[in-house]
């Protein structure tokens, strides 16, 4: 049960139930779709990029608690950040969840995102918590393909 507590923490359950920045974004100038057909996680990430910064970021769609909470926390973390900062945070997050379980987590660097370190215990679920992030990154670099992490 201890690994489970680490994965399904209060903050993840809360963001799953009450996702932040959830819904369409009328001012969006870039949107990307993330879809994992095998498990059914399906979401859209909307960005309003203005003067090299993420003025607004929303997501919508359906998926498991891990994918939704990760998307919700991502939007909270990236709102107002510059494109360079957003890419840096993406790289740090991605490196954390794909690292070996023995690698210590730098909580100072990752902030609230550090709670997703628990997903390393569940290799099949890494794709869930990175889906929104890859969709966001794809929008940032303006890649036109639908994103999948399966």
């Amino acid at each position: 049960m201890s690994e489970l507590r680490e994965l399904y923490q209060e903050i993840i359950l809360d963001h799953n139930k009450n996702p932040r920045n959830f819904g369409p974004l009328a001012s969006a100038n870039r949107s990307r779709e993330g879809y994992n057909p095998l498990c059914g996680d399906h979401l859209h990430v909307h960005l309003e990029i203005c003067d090299g910064s993420l003025k607004a970021i929303n997501f919508e769609g359906s998926g498991c608690a891990i994918s939704k909470a990760s998307a919700s926390l991502m939007t909270s973390a990236l709102k107002g950040k510059s494109i360079d900062e957003a890419e840096k945070i993406f790289a740090d997050f991605h490196a954390m969840v794909t690292a070996d379980i023995s690698v210590p987590v730098d909580e100072n660097k990752l902030g609230k995102m550090a709670i997703f370190a628990g997903v390393r215990e569940f290799p099949m679920r890494v794709k869930c918590c990175t889906l929104a992030w890859h969709a966001m990154n794809s929008a940032l670099i303006d890649d036109e393909n639908i994103v999948s992490t399966e």
């Binding site: 489970l4 095998l38 059914g40 399906h42 498991c64 608690a65 891990i66």
Partner: protein
């Protein structure tokens, strides 16, 4: 939770679940420090020691290629492989073992029929009927064939309890119907389809009937002669046998008239660079290359094991077990079971409130319980129920009443985590 005698019915003579579980070494293992409760049997089943021993025996005492060597080992391997074919033929009650073609699995069997029989027989405007509850392996080969031949794919609808709407099926049949291909048992809903009646009606209009038996054979006695279907397919690994081996049963006359699918060694009669090639007779015509020899031998061992337990006893036990599991789960608030057909076996697919099936699956896994979460290779069925995915507990005869209780208790735990 207490065992409810009224659900259990009378005890089943000679069916000792503790003893049966001892026959499957993997069932003694632990997952996340908890005893394994394996409820993903519709994906693949576990293997009894007798199957593992048969594989070991083959590789340690008679491993050789078949149908070609004059040496001792090759003759032994050939005899074992052909004995396995006879065993499968007897098991399905075919008129002769030549009607049994060994393939990789159900997927390959259906592709073989679509490529060989389908390409030969289907033309523009012809119609093929499948159902709304099919596995992707019984949808996509027909879609591809229809696109290639400008034929039309028709779909038998289902109702909310998860049964085929038989009147609608009858209305779909007409003189253009050439193939009807449906599952014996749904891998998601557990529905047992009325394949005898389906076959009889299809034959009335001259159509050929393919039955996807992947989920039928592990739970029900199958007699292809009595069903009168033209083709019946199943996978060894879903029937307590090894992966990589499956069965295509076809009526002799059809198999003989069909062109080969894969070509190469073993399936030829004579190869000449000047005069061309003539093909072997059935079943060799459809078994190009070296087949899964050990797989066939392992499958025969699985059949022997199951027949020894008794298919009628297994069927009765599983029906009671399913009933008990469904009763326990239906008492959980917010749990919805998909598929409530009057005739069903083997499967409880469910949704729990708005909790995603993958979260359910991950939490059950920490309790040592293996279920499947996802679209179960049946996306049209997910669309019908308007869900992206389902959680599915699927049973085999080695599952116990206690394991059903563990499942129910662990689902309660999932609810507690999320509330």
């Amino acid at each position: 939770m207490v065992l409810n005698e009224s659900i259990l019915g009378s005890p089943i003579g000679g069916f000792d679940i503790t003893e049966i579980q001892q026959d499957f070494p993997i069932l003694n293992s632990k997952v996340n420090s908890k005893p394994l409760v394996y409820l993903d049997n519709a994906s693949t089943t576990q293997k009894p020691s007798v199957v593992l021993d048969a594989l070991d025996h083959h590789y340690t005492t008679e491993n050789a290629n078949i149908h070609r060597g004059v040496h001792h080992l090759s003759q032994k391997a050939t005899i074992s492989y052909e004995k396995a074919r006879e065993c499968v033929g007897r098991f399905l009650n075919t008129s002769e073992s030549g009607e049994i073609v060994f393939v990789r699995g159900t997927t390959e069997a259906i592709n073989l029929i679509a490529h060989s029989f389908g390409r030969q027989q289907i033309g523009e405007g012809d119609e093929i009927i499948i159902s709304h509850m099919e596995h992707h392996s019984n949808i996509v080969p027909w879609q591809v064939l229809c696109r290639e031949k400008k034929a039309v794919l028709r779909v038998i609808p289902i109702n909310s309890t998860g049964e085929l709407v038989f009147d609608d099926y009858v209305n779909l049949l007409n003189s253009n119907t050439k193939i009807v291909s449906v599952s014996h048992v749904s891998n998601v809903l557990g529905t047992i389809n009325p394949i005898r009646e389906i076959t009889a009606r299809a034959h009335d209009v001259g159509a050929v009937v393919v039955i996807d038996g992947a989920q039928g054979v592990p739970h029900l006695e199958v007699d292809v002669t009595s069903i009168d279907c033209d083709f019946y397919t199943f996978s060894g690994h879903k029937f307590f046998g090894p992966t990589g081996i499956g069965v295509l049963y076809g009526k002799k006359k059809l198999l003989e008239e069909m062109p080969p699918w894969e070509t190469g060694g073993s399936m030829i009669s004579k190869v000449s660079l000047e005069e061309g090639t003539t093909y072997a007779s059935i079943p060799a015509k459809f078994e190009a290359g070296t087949p899964s020899i050990a797989g066939a031998i392992g499958l025969a061992a699985a059949i022997d094991y199951v027949e020894n337990l008794g298919l009628d006893v297994i069927e009765q036990y599983e029906r009671n077990l399913l009933k008990y599991g469904e009763q326990l789960l239906s008492e959980i608030p917010g749990l919805r079971i998909f598929g409530q057909a009057k005739e069903k076996v083997g499967v409880i697919s469910f949704a729990l409130e708005s909790i995603h099936p993958h979260d359910v699956g991950t939490i059950l896994d920490t309790e040592g319980i293996a279920i499947r979460a996802g679209h179960h290779c049946a996306q049209p069925l997910m669309d019908y129920y308007k869900v992206p995915a389902m959680a599915r507990a699927s049973i085999a005869f080695y599952n116990s009443y206690m394991e059903m209780e563990s499942l129910a208790l662990s689902i309660e735990k999932v609810r507690r985590v999320f509330n």
